[in-house]
């Protein structure tokens, strides 16, 4: 029994969150959305949509970004980080679906869009894409499980069809990552002008690519800490350079868009909107500038700090669109209830825990020892020479 007692600080935090999460789940089930949330007719979407879904799907963007880099653009050197990225993505999507079950009023009808079609609905498209893409991610991750189980034949069969699966995965991701932004196009007149723009889908897509890269770096850092592995340092350095460029593109688009729409005036309005807008932009612009500097990229600690800062900038952006920017037109103030926060944190904690277990028991970081020629990538998997930090 003592095996299951929490020992470290984080294990205690985890245990506490799970207990609180179970209690919050009980409230959600027996007292409904009214009992478990501070949502209202005026403010129907809270942090379960803004954080669990909008941020969750974004944070899982590393899966398609890295799959495209390695398998489509054939930059084989990034192969060591593909598997953890795909696992994070798969876990991310599964947890998004779990969160969706809390948020839906009729969770047992979540399958309805499969047979009740409405092609004019962005949500319909997102639902289909997320369902299909979660399947794709499962198939992309399946080789790792098959490898663990030593099932060579099914593994080879799967490899033969992997290319179309990967292409499909990138397309599905492109569609729904951008469509999460399109969800808010209908909110013309409701979403604050600092965020409402016809460019929302494009901005969501570009920032998702940035977050995909940032999460890959973030994971590499944490798994190297947790498992005493060597950080894939040269890879991470390259990724962080690409990340700086992606953030630069994103911020340029934001700037031009605000300029064209003449939306700067909204900043003079004193209120939470403009302050949180500035916070969001700073949390992206500062890490971008830092990552452009050679010195930041040479030090794992400063780079990690910059990447984490950008991840927070991304979270603030999504929450600004889902909550901050929607508040004024709604005429009410929305502050999430403790149950909303606890369930969100419990889902995040579960994600960390499952990732850790998977990293412990699955061949996540081992190089693929696949000497057979059935490799659709056409090249034998090369072992990257171990690099030392700072070289």
């Amino acid at each position: 029994m003592s095996r299951f007692m929490p020992r470290t600080f984080w294990q205690w935090v985890f245990a506490a969150l799970m207990v609180a999460g179970l209690y919050a789940t009980y409230i959600r089930i027996f007292y409904g959305l009214g009992g478990a949330t501070n949502l209202s007719d005026q403010f129907p979407w809270g942090i379960w949509v803004g954080f669990d879904i909008l941020c969750g799907v974004g944070l899982a963007a590393g899966g398609f970004t890295l799959a495209a880099i390695v398998h489509i653009f054939h930059l084989e050197e990034f192969k060591p980080v593909v598997r953890p990225a795909i696992l994070t993505a798969f876990l991310g999507y599964v947890l998004v679906v779990v969160a969706l079950m809390f948020d839906l009023g009729q969770p047992h009808r979540v399958w309805h869009p499969i047979i009740m079609w409405n092609p004019r609905s962005v949500m319909f498209e997102v639902g289909w894409c997320v369902t299909l893409y979660t399947t794709v991610l499962f198939l992309e991750f399946l080789p790792v499980i098959l490898e663990k189980l030593g099932l060579q034949r099914p593994r080879r069969v799967l490899k033969g069809v992997m290319l179309p699966i990967i292409i499909m995965g990138v397309i599905l991701s492109t569609l729904h990552q951008s469509s999460l932004g399109s969800l808010y196009l209908i909110a013309n007149g409701k979403l604050n002008t600092l965020w409402y723009t016809p460019l929302l889908p494009v901005l969501f897509y570009v920032s998702a690519i940035g977050v995909g890269l940032a999460m890959t770096i973030f994971e590499s850092w944490h798994s190297s800490k947790a498992f005493g592995r060597e950080l894939e340092w040269p890879l991470i350095q390259k990724l962080s350079r690409v990340l700086a460029v992606v953030i630069a593109c994103y911020l340029t688009m934001r700037f031009l868009d605000l300029n064209h729409r003449g939306a700067w005036a909204a900043l003079e309005d004193p209120g939470w909107e403009s302050r949180l807008f500035v916070l969001e932009i700073m949390l992206m612009a500062v890490p971008m500038l830092l990552l452009f500097r050679e010195r930041t990229r040479q030090n794992p600690h400063t780079m990690y700090a910059a990447v984490t800062m950008f991840l927070f900038g991304f979270l603030v952006n999504r929450l600004n669109i889902a909550v901050t920017g929607m508040e004024r037109a709604s005429g009410v103030t929305y502050i999430p209830k403790w149950t909303e926060v606890v369930i969100t944190l419990a889902i995040v904690a579960a994600g960390f825990a499952i990732f850790k277990l998977a990293a412990k028991y699955l061949p996540l970081f081992e190089p693929m020892h696949d000497s057979e020629s059935g490799d659709p990538e056409g090249a034998p998997d090369k072992l990257q020479p171990a690099a030392t930090p700072g070289d």
Partner: protein, 248 residues
């Protein structure tokens, strides 16, 4: 031709008989407390609102191109040919996108139910579709709420405005807002003062979504071609390298 409802706040005396008739139709309790709450909710699908000496009314506007029907992932909302926008509760999965999308904050949710559904005015589709009039129109003693063909109702509105120009704000609300609505309003004040959103675009809201959504097939086709192409090029280099290496 589609039906429409006209609300005229100049004729409205705030008697709330429309509220009572609506609650009766939906078999909802109608107490003094509910009557005093000037907010729509799952308990009250239409309400009179007081603005100084004047009144206004809130009900579903039954948009000609409704945002709720366009955003619903399971098509639980339907704009019927007769005019009403109706809700099919058996389809609804409870995502509440309709509520987020509605420019008039109309759909209400049964927040305290374990398996909640949306509630909203359906313009008494069960009557209007067969030539009848809504319960609220029937209940109104002063013709402040009337039901008729949309162009007929507009003609009546214009006639009233011409008859006593000093009493009316010179515009019919719902003619152009979000592409036009099947509930129209004429009144004594600018409509912002009567609880109506004033910053709505003239285009229907689904047009803004469609501007992005229509590109989905392009992304699929272009994406497949591009990625297959990139794959072919990046792997071709390797094949060439391997072949040349073999010759040497």
């Amino acid at each position: 031709m589609a039906k429409a409802v006209l609300y005229d706040n100049v004729l409205c005396v705030g008697c709330r008989l429309c509220e009572a008739a609506c609650s009766e139709k939906w078999k909802l309790p109608y107490t003094d407390e509910i009557a005093g709450t000037e907010k729509t909710s799952a308990q009250k699908l239409t309400t009179i609102t007081t603005h100084g000496e004047k009144f206004s009314r809130k009900l579903c506007m039954h948009c000609i191109d409704p945002a709720c029907a366009s955003v619903c992932p399971v098509a639980a909302f339907e704009k019927t040919a007769a005019g009403p926008v109706v809700y099919h509760p058996e389809k609804c999965m409870g995502c509440r996108y309709c509520m987020m999308a509605c420019p008039f904050q109309v759909p209400s949710y049964e927040w305290n139910e374990r398996l909640p559904l949306v509630k909203k005015c359906d313009m008494c589709a069960e009557r209007v579709s067969f030539g009848g009039i809504t319960h609220c129109s029937e209940a109104c003693p002063f013709e402040a709420t009337i039901t008729g063909e949309r162009d007929e109702v507009i003609a009546i509105a214009k006639k009233r405005m011409e008859a006593s120009p000093g009493e009316y704000h010179p515009a019919i609300y719902g003619m152009e807002e979000v592409g036009g609505t099947s509930v129209l309003m004429i009144g004594s004040e600018p409509y912002e003062k009567l609880n109506m959103p004033g910053n709505l675009p003239k285009e229907s809201l689904p047009t803004y979504t469609w501007a992005a959504l229509k590109h989905v097939p392009d992304v699929v086709i272009l994406g497949t071609v591009l990625m297959s192409g990139v794959y072919w090029i990046t792997h071709r280099r390797e094949e060439v390298a391997a072949a040349e290496g073999g010759e040497k």
